[in-house]
Protein backbone atom coordinates (compact mmCIF):
# COMPACT_ATOMS: atom_id res chain seq x y z
CA UNK A 1 0.00 0.00 0.00
CA UNK A 2 1.37 3.40 -0.92
CA UNK A 3 1.37 6.34 1.49
CA UNK A 4 0.64 4.23 4.58
CA UNK A 5 1.46 7.05 7.02
CA UNK A 6 -0.72 9.53 5.11
CA UNK A 7 -3.62 7.09 4.98
CA UNK A 8 -3.46 6.33 8.69
CA UNK A 9 -3.24 10.05 9.52
CA UNK A 10 -6.35 10.76 7.48
CA UNK A 11 -8.12 7.84 9.16
CA UNK A 12 -7.32 9.16 12.62
CA UNK A 13 -8.20 12.75 11.71
CA UNK A 14 -11.64 11.68 10.48
CA UNK A 15 -12.34 9.21 13.29
CA UNK A 16 -11.39 11.46 16.17
CA UNK A 17 -14.27 13.98 15.85
CA UNK A 18 -17.29 11.78 16.54
CA UNK A 19 -15.42 10.20 19.46
CA UNK A 20 -14.58 13.63 20.85
CA UNK A 21 -18.17 14.85 20.47
CA UNK A 22 -19.53 11.72 22.10
CA UNK A 23 -17.15 12.25 25.00
CA UNK A 24 -18.20 15.91 25.24
CA UNK A 25 -21.86 14.94 25.26
CA UNK A 26 -21.15 12.42 27.99
CA UNK A 27 -19.16 14.98 29.98
CA UNK A 28 -21.98 17.51 29.72
CA UNK A 29 -20.01 20.08 27.74
CA UNK A 30 -22.55 20.20 24.92
CA UNK A 31 -25.25 21.80 27.05
CA UNK A 32 -28.76 20.73 27.93
CA UNK A 33 -29.65 19.33 24.50
CA UNK A 34 -26.57 17.27 23.54
CA UNK A 35 -28.48 15.01 21.14
CA UNK A 36 -29.41 17.94 18.93
CA UNK A 37 -25.85 19.28 19.01
CA UNK A 38 -24.48 15.86 18.03
CA UNK A 39 -26.91 15.55 15.13
CA UNK A 40 -26.05 19.05 13.89
CA UNK A 41 -22.30 18.50 14.15
CA UNK A 42 -22.43 15.14 12.41
CA UNK A 43 -24.45 16.62 9.57
CA UNK A 44 -22.09 19.52 9.14
CA UNK A 45 -19.12 17.15 9.46
CA UNK A 46 -20.48 15.02 6.63
CA UNK A 47 -20.82 18.09 4.42
CA UNK A 48 -17.27 19.20 5.20
CA UNK A 49 -15.94 15.70 4.46
CA UNK A 50 -17.78 15.68 1.14
CA UNK A 51 -16.27 19.05 0.22
CA UNK A 52 -12.79 17.82 1.17
CA UNK A 53 -13.31 14.64 -0.86
CA UNK A 54 -14.40 16.64 -3.88
CA UNK A 55 -11.40 18.94 -3.58
CA UNK A 56 -8.91 16.13 -4.12
CA UNK A 57 -9.27 15.85 -7.89
CA UNK A 58 -8.52 19.57 -8.41
CA UNK A 59 -5.69 19.26 -5.90
CA UNK A 60 -4.26 16.33 -7.84
CA UNK A 61 -4.33 18.42 -10.99
CA UNK A 62 -2.69 21.34 -9.23
CA UNK A 63 0.05 19.42 -7.51
CA UNK A 64 0.37 16.16 -9.36
CA UNK A 65 0.64 14.34 -6.03
CA UNK A 66 -1.12 10.97 -6.18
CA UNK A 67 -1.50 10.91 -2.42
CA UNK A 68 -4.73 12.90 -2.76
CA UNK A 69 -6.35 10.10 -4.71
CA UNK A 70 -4.99 7.47 -2.34
CA UNK A 71 -7.27 8.71 0.45
CA UNK A 72 -10.23 9.89 -1.63
CA UNK A 73 -12.25 6.70 -1.26
CA UNK A 74 -11.51 6.56 2.44
CA UNK A 75 -12.79 10.10 2.94
CA UNK A 76 -15.87 9.39 0.86
CA UNK A 77 -16.62 6.45 3.13
CA UNK A 78 -16.06 8.63 6.18
CA UNK A 79 -18.59 11.07 4.78
CA UNK A 80 -21.03 8.17 4.48
CA UNK A 81 -20.25 7.06 8.04
CA UNK A 82 -20.95 10.56 9.38
CA UNK A 83 -24.26 10.61 7.51
CA UNK A 84 -25.20 7.22 8.99
CA UNK A 85 -24.40 8.55 12.48
CA UNK A 86 -26.29 11.79 11.72
CA UNK A 87 -29.34 9.82 10.67
CA UNK A 88 -29.12 7.45 13.66
CA UNK A 89 -28.77 10.43 15.97
CA UNK A 90 -31.83 12.04 14.41
CA UNK A 91 -33.87 8.88 14.91
CA UNK A 92 -32.65 8.39 18.48
CA UNK A 93 -32.41 11.90 19.92
CA UNK A 94 -34.90 13.93 17.89
CA UNK A 95 -37.59 11.34 17.16
CA UNK A 96 -36.94 9.25 20.28
CA UNK A 97 -37.29 6.06 18.19
CA UNK A 98 -40.88 6.96 17.31
CA UNK A 99 -40.98 5.00 14.04
CA UNK A 100 -44.50 6.03 13.10
CA UNK A 101 -43.40 9.65 13.38
CA UNK A 102 -40.48 8.83 11.07
CA UNK A 103 -43.05 7.72 8.48
CA UNK A 104 -44.87 11.03 8.86
CA UNK A 105 -41.65 13.03 8.55
CA UNK A 106 -40.66 11.09 5.43
CA UNK A 107 -43.95 11.93 3.78
CA UNK A 108 -44.38 15.52 4.88
CA UNK A 109 -41.06 17.31 5.27
CA UNK A 110 -39.20 18.33 2.14
CA UNK A 111 -35.89 18.78 3.96
CA UNK A 112 -36.12 15.28 5.43
CA UNK A 113 -36.95 13.85 1.99
CA UNK A 114 -34.00 15.66 0.45
CA UNK A 115 -31.75 14.44 3.26
CA UNK A 116 -32.87 10.85 2.81
CA UNK A 117 -32.35 11.08 -0.97
CA UNK A 118 -28.81 12.25 -0.32
CA UNK A 119 -28.31 9.35 2.07
CA UNK A 120 -29.58 6.83 -0.50
CA UNK A 121 -27.23 8.20 -3.16
CA UNK A 122 -24.31 8.00 -0.71
CA UNK A 123 -25.37 4.46 0.17
CA UNK A 124 -25.18 3.48 -3.50
CA UNK A 125 -21.73 5.05 -3.75
CA UNK A 126 -20.52 3.36 -0.56
CA UNK A 127 -21.73 -0.07 -1.70
CA UNK A 128 -19.99 0.29 -5.06
CA UNK A 129 -16.80 1.79 -3.67
CA UNK A 130 -14.87 -1.51 -3.77
CA UNK A 131 -12.56 -2.74 -6.52
CA UNK A 132 -14.92 -5.53 -7.47
CA UNK A 133 -17.69 -3.05 -8.29
CA UNK A 134 -15.24 -0.87 -10.18
CA UNK A 135 -14.27 -3.78 -12.42
CA UNK A 136 -17.81 -5.01 -12.72
CA UNK A 137 -19.31 -1.63 -13.64
CA UNK A 138 -16.45 -0.61 -15.91
CA UNK A 139 -17.06 2.80 -17.49
CA UNK A 140 -20.42 3.01 -15.77
CA UNK A 141 -18.69 3.21 -12.40
CA UNK A 142 -17.30 6.65 -13.11
CA UNK A 143 -20.68 7.85 -14.28
CA UNK A 144 -22.35 6.44 -11.18
CA UNK A 145 -19.87 8.12 -8.89
CA UNK A 146 -20.64 11.49 -10.40
CA UNK A 147 -23.67 11.14 -8.11
CA UNK A 148 -21.36 12.70 -5.52
CA UNK A 149 -22.07 16.07 -7.15
CA UNK A 150 -25.77 15.45 -6.73
CA UNK A 151 -25.24 14.50 -3.10
CA UNK A 152 -23.48 17.82 -2.58
CA UNK A 153 -26.47 19.69 -4.03
CA UNK A 154 -28.92 17.71 -1.91
CA UNK A 155 -26.82 18.22 1.21
CA UNK A 156 -26.63 21.97 0.69
CA UNK A 157 -30.36 22.18 0.04
CA UNK A 158 -31.02 20.09 3.17
CA UNK A 159 -28.90 22.54 5.20
CA UNK A 160 -30.43 25.64 3.60
CA UNK A 161 -33.88 24.55 4.76
CA UNK A 162 -32.65 24.19 8.32
CA UNK A 163 -30.81 27.51 8.53
CA UNK A 164 -33.41 29.97 9.66
CA UNK A 165 -32.15 33.46 10.06
CA UNK A 166 -28.54 33.91 9.06
CA UNK A 167 -27.21 32.49 5.81
CA UNK A 168 -23.57 33.38 6.39
CA UNK A 169 -22.34 29.90 7.35
CA UNK A 170 -24.40 28.24 4.65
CA UNK A 171 -23.14 30.71 2.06
CA UNK A 172 -19.54 29.80 2.87
CA UNK A 173 -20.14 26.08 2.31
CA UNK A 174 -22.26 26.70 -0.77
CA UNK A 175 -19.58 28.87 -2.39
CA UNK A 176 -16.87 26.31 -1.71
CA UNK A 177 -19.15 23.63 -3.18
CA UNK A 178 -19.93 25.77 -6.22
CA UNK A 179 -16.24 26.44 -6.78
CA UNK A 180 -15.43 22.72 -6.65
CA UNK A 181 -18.16 21.98 -9.18
CA UNK A 182 -17.03 24.79 -11.50
CA UNK A 183 -13.52 23.33 -11.44
CA UNK A 184 -15.01 20.21 -13.01
CA UNK A 185 -16.47 21.96 -16.04
CA UNK A 186 -14.29 20.73 -18.91
CA UNK A 187 -13.24 24.20 -20.14
CA UNK A 188 -12.21 25.14 -16.61
CA UNK A 189 -10.73 21.77 -15.70
CA UNK A 190 -8.43 21.88 -18.75
CA UNK A 191 -7.01 25.19 -17.61
CA UNK A 192 -6.09 24.15 -14.07
CA UNK A 193 -2.34 24.77 -14.02
CA UNK A 194 0.11 22.21 -12.74
CA UNK A 195 1.97 23.99 -9.95
CA UNK A 196 4.46 21.24 -9.35
CA UNK A 197 6.04 20.15 -12.59
CA UNK A 198 6.98 16.59 -11.69
CA UNK A 199 5.06 14.05 -13.71
CA UNK A 200 3.26 11.36 -11.75
CA UNK A 201 1.20 8.56 -13.13
CA UNK A 202 -2.42 9.00 -12.07
CA UNK A 203 -4.24 5.75 -12.01
CA UNK A 204 -7.74 7.08 -11.92
CA UNK A 205 -9.12 10.43 -12.76
CA UNK A 206 -12.60 11.61 -12.04
Amino acid sequence: MRYPFWRVSVFIAAAVWPLLWLYQAWAGVLGPDPGKVLVDRLGLGALVLLLITLSFTPLLKLTGWAGWIAVRRQLGLWCFAYVVLHLSGYIAFILGFDWSQLGVELRKRPYIIVGVLGFLCLLALAITSNRYSQRRLGAGWKKLHRLAYGVLGLGLLHMLWIVRADLKEWAVYASIGALLLVLRLPPVARRIPRLIAKKTPSARKA
Binding site: L38, G96, R164
Partner: protein
Protein backbone atom coordinates in the same frame (compact mmCIF):
# COMPACT_ATOMS: atom_id res chain seq x y z
CA UNK B 1 -23.36 60.95 31.99
CA UNK B 2 -21.08 62.84 34.40
CA UNK B 3 -23.79 63.90 36.81
CA UNK B 4 -25.06 61.05 38.87
CA UNK B 5 -27.75 60.74 41.49
CA UNK B 6 -25.64 59.91 44.56
CA UNK B 7 -28.18 57.73 46.30
CA UNK B 8 -28.42 55.12 43.59
CA UNK B 9 -25.03 55.38 41.96
CA UNK B 10 -22.89 55.03 45.10
CA UNK B 11 -23.95 51.48 45.44
CA UNK B 12 -23.55 50.90 41.73
CA UNK B 13 -20.03 52.09 41.19
CA UNK B 14 -18.84 49.43 43.60
CA UNK B 15 -20.62 46.80 41.59
CA UNK B 16 -19.03 47.69 38.28
CA UNK B 17 -15.80 45.89 39.01
CA UNK B 18 -17.42 42.59 39.89
CA UNK B 19 -19.48 42.95 36.71
CA UNK B 20 -16.35 42.97 34.57
CA UNK B 21 -14.96 40.10 36.57
CA UNK B 22 -18.21 38.33 35.96
CA UNK B 23 -17.97 38.84 32.21
CA UNK B 24 -14.34 37.87 31.81
CA UNK B 25 -14.94 34.92 34.09
CA UNK B 26 -17.66 33.65 31.85
CA UNK B 27 -15.41 33.68 28.85
CA UNK B 28 -11.99 32.91 30.17
CA UNK B 29 -11.59 31.96 33.78
CA UNK B 30 -12.49 28.76 35.49
CA UNK B 31 -14.74 27.89 38.36
CA UNK B 32 -12.11 28.76 40.95
CA UNK B 33 -12.04 32.40 39.92
CA UNK B 34 -15.81 32.36 39.71
CA UNK B 35 -16.01 31.39 43.35
CA UNK B 36 -13.57 34.16 44.24
CA UNK B 37 -15.53 36.77 42.31
CA UNK B 38 -18.81 35.74 43.86
CA UNK B 39 -17.43 35.68 47.39
CA UNK B 40 -15.90 39.12 46.89
CA UNK B 41 -19.27 40.59 45.95
CA UNK B 42 -20.88 42.64 48.66
CA UNK B 43 -23.65 40.81 50.48
CA UNK B 44 -26.99 42.33 49.65
CA UNK B 45 -30.61 41.54 49.24
CA UNK B 46 -30.48 39.92 45.82
CA UNK B 47 -27.68 37.59 46.84
CA UNK B 48 -29.98 36.10 49.44
CA UNK B 49 -32.88 35.79 47.06
CA UNK B 50 -30.72 34.22 44.38
CA UNK B 51 -30.17 31.41 46.85
CA UNK B 52 -33.78 30.34 46.32
CA UNK B 53 -32.47 28.34 43.39
CA UNK B 54 -29.35 26.22 43.16
CA UNK B 55 -26.25 27.38 41.29
CA UNK B 56 -27.54 30.81 40.36
CA UNK B 57 -24.79 33.16 39.28
CA UNK B 58 -25.07 36.40 41.18
CA UNK B 59 -25.50 39.39 38.92
CA UNK B 60 -25.34 43.07 39.70
CA UNK B 61 -28.90 44.23 40.04
CA UNK B 62 -29.88 47.82 39.28
CA UNK B 63 -30.87 49.61 42.47
CA UNK B 64 -34.54 49.87 41.51
CA UNK B 65 -34.61 46.10 41.14
CA UNK B 66 -32.82 45.46 44.43
CA UNK B 67 -35.32 47.76 46.17
CA UNK B 68 -38.37 46.06 44.66
CA UNK B 69 -37.21 42.49 45.01
CA UNK B 70 -37.84 41.95 48.75
CA UNK B 71 -41.57 42.65 48.35
CA UNK B 72 -41.94 40.17 45.46
CA UNK B 73 -44.90 37.78 45.71
CA UNK B 74 -42.97 34.53 45.47
CA UNK B 75 -44.51 31.58 43.69
CA UNK B 76 -47.57 33.54 42.54
CA UNK B 77 -47.98 31.00 39.73
CA UNK B 78 -46.25 27.62 39.78
CA UNK B 79 -46.18 24.34 37.84
CA UNK B 80 -47.13 21.08 39.47
CA UNK B 81 -44.68 18.17 39.57
CA UNK B 82 -42.36 19.59 36.93
CA UNK B 83 -38.72 20.28 37.70
CA UNK B 84 -37.41 23.79 37.21
CA UNK B 85 -34.72 23.93 34.52
CA UNK B 86 -31.22 24.45 35.98
CA UNK B 87 -30.11 28.09 35.87
CA UNK B 88 -27.05 27.18 33.80
CA UNK B 89 -29.19 25.66 31.04
CA UNK B 90 -31.73 28.47 31.04
CA UNK B 91 -28.89 30.97 30.62
CA UNK B 92 -26.63 29.08 28.21
CA UNK B 93 -29.14 27.69 25.73
CA UNK B 94 -30.87 30.70 24.22
CA UNK B 95 -32.28 32.01 21.01
CA UNK B 96 -31.42 35.70 20.87
CA UNK B 97 -30.32 36.23 17.27
CA UNK B 98 -29.13 39.76 17.98
CA UNK B 99 -26.16 38.03 19.61
CA UNK B 100 -25.70 35.15 17.15
CA UNK B 101 -27.68 32.17 15.90
CA UNK B 102 -26.02 29.41 17.95
CA UNK B 103 -27.60 28.51 21.26
CA UNK B 104 -24.42 29.43 23.13
CA UNK B 105 -23.86 32.74 21.32
CA UNK B 106 -26.13 34.88 23.53
CA UNK B 107 -24.34 33.78 26.71
CA UNK B 108 -20.97 34.41 25.05
CA UNK B 109 -21.80 37.74 23.41
CA UNK B 110 -24.55 39.46 25.40
CA UNK B 111 -22.07 40.85 27.92
CA UNK B 112 -21.73 43.83 25.57
CA UNK B 113 -25.37 44.81 26.06
CA UNK B 114 -25.64 47.93 28.20
CA UNK B 115 -28.81 47.70 30.27
CA UNK B 116 -28.21 50.79 32.41
CA UNK B 117 -29.40 53.38 31.72
CA UNK B 118 -32.38 51.96 29.84
CA UNK B 119 -35.44 53.74 28.63
CA UNK B 120 -38.74 52.53 27.27
CA UNK B 121 -40.90 54.44 24.82
CA UNK B 122 -44.64 54.05 25.25
CA UNK B 123 -46.58 55.46 22.32
CA UNK B 124 -49.52 54.99 19.98
CA UNK B 125 -53.09 54.85 21.19
CA UNK B 126 -52.39 55.87 24.78
CA UNK B 127 -53.31 58.86 26.92
CA UNK B 128 -49.83 59.06 28.43
CA UNK B 129 -47.24 58.55 25.72
CA UNK B 130 -43.60 59.20 26.54
CA UNK B 131 -40.10 57.95 27.05
CA UNK B 132 -39.53 56.59 30.52
CA UNK B 133 -36.35 55.71 32.35
CA UNK B 134 -36.75 52.06 33.28
CA UNK B 135 -36.68 52.78 37.03
CA UNK B 136 -39.58 55.24 36.58
CA UNK B 137 -41.39 52.90 34.21
CA UNK B 138 -41.22 50.16 36.83
CA UNK B 139 -42.34 52.24 39.83
CA UNK B 140 -46.07 51.42 39.84
CA UNK B 141 -45.70 47.65 39.65
CA UNK B 142 -45.64 44.94 42.28
CA UNK B 143 -43.24 42.15 41.27
CA UNK B 144 -44.48 38.58 41.21
CA UNK B 145 -42.70 35.31 40.65
CA UNK B 146 -44.31 33.25 37.88
CA UNK B 147 -43.00 29.76 37.28
CA UNK B 148 -43.95 28.99 33.68
CA UNK B 149 -43.32 26.35 31.08
CA UNK B 150 -41.48 27.79 28.09
CA UNK B 151 -42.10 25.96 24.81
CA UNK B 152 -39.83 26.90 21.91
CA UNK B 153 -41.15 26.55 18.38
CA UNK B 154 -38.07 24.36 17.76
CA UNK B 155 -39.66 21.63 19.94
CA UNK B 156 -37.65 22.02 23.12
CA UNK B 157 -38.97 23.32 26.40
CA UNK B 158 -37.93 24.50 29.85
CA UNK B 159 -39.53 25.53 33.14
CA UNK B 160 -38.41 28.98 34.29
CA UNK B 161 -39.17 31.04 37.41
CA UNK B 162 -39.70 34.56 36.06
CA UNK B 163 -40.08 37.74 38.06
CA UNK B 164 -42.33 40.36 36.53
CA UNK B 165 -45.73 41.96 36.48
CA UNK B 166 -48.89 41.49 34.41
CA UNK B 167 -49.12 43.57 31.24
CA UNK B 168 -52.66 44.43 32.28
CA UNK B 169 -51.19 46.55 35.10
CA UNK B 170 -49.19 48.52 32.54
CA UNK B 171 -52.22 48.96 30.30
CA UNK B 172 -54.17 50.41 33.22
CA UNK B 173 -51.41 52.93 33.87
CA UNK B 174 -50.89 54.18 30.29
CA UNK B 175 -54.60 54.95 29.65
CA UNK B 176 -55.59 53.26 26.41
CA UNK B 177 -57.66 55.09 23.84
CA UNK B 178 -60.62 53.31 22.27
CA UNK B 179 -58.62 52.74 19.07
CA UNK B 180 -56.06 50.47 20.77
CA UNK B 181 -56.59 46.93 19.49
CA UNK B 182 -53.09 45.46 19.52
CA UNK B 183 -49.88 45.91 21.47
CA UNK B 184 -46.58 46.00 19.63
CA UNK B 185 -43.13 45.49 21.14
CA UNK B 186 -39.73 46.36 19.76
CA UNK B 187 -36.27 45.13 20.79
CA UNK B 188 -33.25 47.38 21.04
CA UNK B 189 -31.45 47.99 17.75
CA UNK B 190 -27.80 48.62 18.39
CA UNK B 191 -25.40 46.95 15.94
CA UNK B 192 -22.44 48.20 17.98
CA UNK B 193 -23.30 45.92 20.90
CA UNK B 194 -25.35 43.32 19.01
CA UNK B 195 -23.12 41.33 16.65
CA UNK B 196 -26.06 39.52 15.03
CA UNK B 197 -27.36 42.85 13.74
CA UNK B 198 -24.02 43.41 12.00
CA UNK B 199 -24.23 40.23 9.93
CA UNK B 200 -24.73 40.97 6.25
CA UNK B 201 -26.40 37.61 5.71
CA UNK B 202 -29.12 37.94 8.34
CA UNK B 203 -32.62 37.44 7.02
CA UNK B 204 -34.07 39.44 9.89
CA UNK B 205 -35.06 43.03 9.28
CA UNK B 206 -33.97 44.56 12.59
CA UNK B 207 -35.27 45.58 15.06
CA UNK B 208 -37.12 42.48 16.23
CA UNK B 209 -40.86 43.12 16.51
CA UNK B 210 -43.57 41.17 18.26
CA UNK B 211 -47.18 41.79 19.14
CA UNK B 212 -50.31 40.57 20.87
CA UNK B 213 -53.98 41.15 20.51
CA UNK B 214 -55.13 43.48 23.29
CA UNK B 215 -57.25 40.82 25.01
CA UNK B 216 -54.26 38.45 24.93
CA UNK B 217 -52.11 41.11 26.54
CA UNK B 218 -54.79 41.69 29.20
CA UNK B 219 -54.78 37.99 30.16
CA UNK B 220 -53.36 37.65 33.66
CA UNK B 221 -50.77 35.09 32.49
CA UNK B 222 -49.09 37.54 30.10
CA UNK B 223 -46.31 39.36 31.91
CA UNK B 224 -43.41 41.69 31.38
CA UNK B 225 -40.42 40.14 33.14
CA UNK B 226 -37.43 41.89 34.71
CA UNK B 227 -35.94 38.94 36.56
CA UNK B 228 -35.62 35.17 36.81
CA UNK B 229 -34.35 32.66 39.40
CA UNK B 230 -34.66 35.27 42.14
CA UNK B 231 -32.40 37.83 40.45
CA UNK B 232 -32.50 40.36 37.63
CA UNK B 233 -32.57 39.02 34.06
CA UNK B 234 -29.18 38.01 32.68
CA UNK B 235 -28.46 39.88 29.45
CA UNK B 236 -28.79 36.78 27.29
CA UNK B 237 -32.32 36.22 28.62
CA UNK B 238 -33.52 39.62 27.47
CA UNK B 239 -32.42 42.08 30.13
CA UNK B 240 -33.63 44.41 31.38
CA UNK B 241 -37.25 44.01 30.24
CA UNK B 242 -38.87 41.24 28.25
CA UNK B 243 -42.23 39.74 27.45
CA UNK B 244 -43.30 36.30 28.70
CA UNK B 245 -46.42 34.74 27.17
CA UNK B 246 -46.33 31.12 28.35
CA UNK B 247 -49.07 29.71 26.11
CA UNK B 248 -47.30 30.85 22.93
CA UNK B 249 -44.08 29.68 21.32
CA UNK B 250 -40.99 31.29 22.81
CA UNK B 251 -40.27 33.61 19.89
CA UNK B 252 -43.34 35.67 20.84
CA UNK B 253 -41.69 36.53 24.15
CA UNK B 254 -39.60 39.38 22.81
CA UNK B 255 -36.45 40.40 24.67
CA UNK B 256 -34.73 43.65 25.68
CA UNK B 257 -37.77 45.82 24.94
CA UNK B 258 -37.25 49.52 24.16
CA UNK B 259 -40.64 50.38 22.72
CA UNK B 260 -44.21 49.47 23.53
CA UNK B 261 -46.87 50.78 21.16
CA UNK B 262 -50.62 50.45 21.36
CA UNK B 263 -51.89 50.21 17.80
CA UNK B 264 -55.15 49.75 15.93
CA UNK B 265 -53.82 47.35 13.26
CA UNK B 266 -52.29 43.92 13.76
CA UNK B 267 -48.53 44.53 13.84
CA UNK B 268 -46.29 42.76 11.34
CA UNK B 269 -44.04 40.58 13.45
CA UNK B 270 -40.46 39.60 12.65
CA UNK B 271 -40.89 35.88 12.03
CA UNK B 272 -44.08 36.41 10.09
CA UNK B 273 -42.11 38.68 7.76
CA UNK B 274 -39.39 36.06 7.25
CA UNK B 275 -41.62 33.00 6.77
CA UNK B 276 -45.35 33.61 7.10
CA UNK B 277 -46.12 29.97 6.27
CA UNK B 278 -44.06 28.79 9.23
CA UNK B 279 -44.62 31.43 11.89
CA UNK B 280 -48.02 32.98 12.39
CA UNK B 281 -49.10 36.00 14.39
CA UNK B 282 -50.78 33.87 17.04
CA UNK B 283 -48.08 31.21 17.48
CA UNK B 284 -50.11 29.47 20.16
CA UNK B 285 -48.54 26.23 21.35
CA UNK B 286 -50.61 23.59 19.56
CA UNK B 287 -49.58 19.92 19.31
CA UNK B 288 -52.12 19.36 16.52
CA UNK B 289 -50.68 21.92 14.11
CA UNK B 290 -47.23 20.98 12.80
CA UNK B 291 -44.53 23.40 11.91
CA UNK B 292 -44.05 22.78 8.16
CA UNK B 293 -40.62 21.31 8.89
CA UNK B 294 -41.24 19.32 12.05
CA UNK B 295 -43.92 17.98 14.34
CA UNK B 296 -45.13 20.00 17.31
CA UNK B 297 -46.76 16.99 18.96
CA UNK B 298 -43.82 16.39 21.27
CA UNK B 299 -41.02 18.33 22.87
CA UNK B 300 -37.61 17.76 24.44
CA UNK B 301 -37.79 19.02 27.99
CA UNK B 302 -34.30 20.30 28.73
CA UNK B 303 -31.96 19.14 30.01
CA UNK B 304 -32.45 16.06 27.85
CA UNK B 305 -29.62 13.58 28.28
CA UNK B 306 -27.98 11.68 25.45
CA UNK B 307 -28.89 8.28 26.84
CA UNK B 308 -31.98 9.41 28.72
CA UNK B 309 -33.80 11.69 26.28
CA UNK B 310 -36.49 13.65 28.11
CA UNK B 311 -39.14 13.66 25.38
CA UNK B 312 -42.74 14.43 26.39
CA UNK B 313 -46.06 15.22 24.77
CA UNK B 314 -46.74 18.88 24.08
CA UNK B 315 -49.93 20.19 25.69
CA UNK B 316 -52.51 22.42 24.03
CA UNK B 317 -51.70 26.07 24.84
CA UNK B 318 -48.64 24.67 26.62
CA UNK B 319 -50.87 23.44 29.44
CA UNK B 320 -52.61 26.79 29.99
CA UNK B 321 -55.90 25.93 28.23
CA UNK B 322 -58.04 26.68 31.27
CA UNK B 323 -56.74 30.22 31.40
CA UNK B 324 -56.52 31.14 27.72
CA UNK B 325 -58.64 28.83 25.51
CA UNK B 326 -61.60 31.22 25.78
CA UNK B 327 -59.58 33.90 23.99
CA UNK B 328 -59.80 31.85 20.81
CA UNK B 329 -63.35 30.53 20.69
CA UNK B 330 -64.58 30.56 17.12
CA UNK B 331 -61.08 31.03 15.72
CA UNK B 332 -59.77 28.34 13.35
CA UNK B 333 -56.41 27.57 14.98
CA UNK B 334 -55.27 25.64 11.91
CA UNK B 335 -55.51 28.76 9.80
CA UNK B 336 -54.55 31.17 12.56
CA UNK B 337 -51.44 29.34 13.71
Amino acid sequence: MLIKVPKSSDCHESDVTPESLYLSRRNVLGAAVAGLAVSSLPRWASAEDAARYADVEAGSAPSWFAEKLPSTKWGAVTVKDEAITPFKDATHYNNFYEFGTDKGDPAANAGSLKTEPWSVVVDGEVGKPGRYALEDFMKPYQLEERIYRLRCVEAWSMVIPWIGFPISALLNVVELTSKAKFIRFETLQDPKTMPGQRSGFALIDWPYVEGLRLDEAMNPLAILAVGMYGRELPNQNGAPLRLVVPWKYGFKSIKSIVRISLVSEQPKTTWQSIAADEYGFYANVNPAVDHPRWTQARERRLPSGLFKPNVRDTQMFNGYSDEVASLYTGLDLRKNY
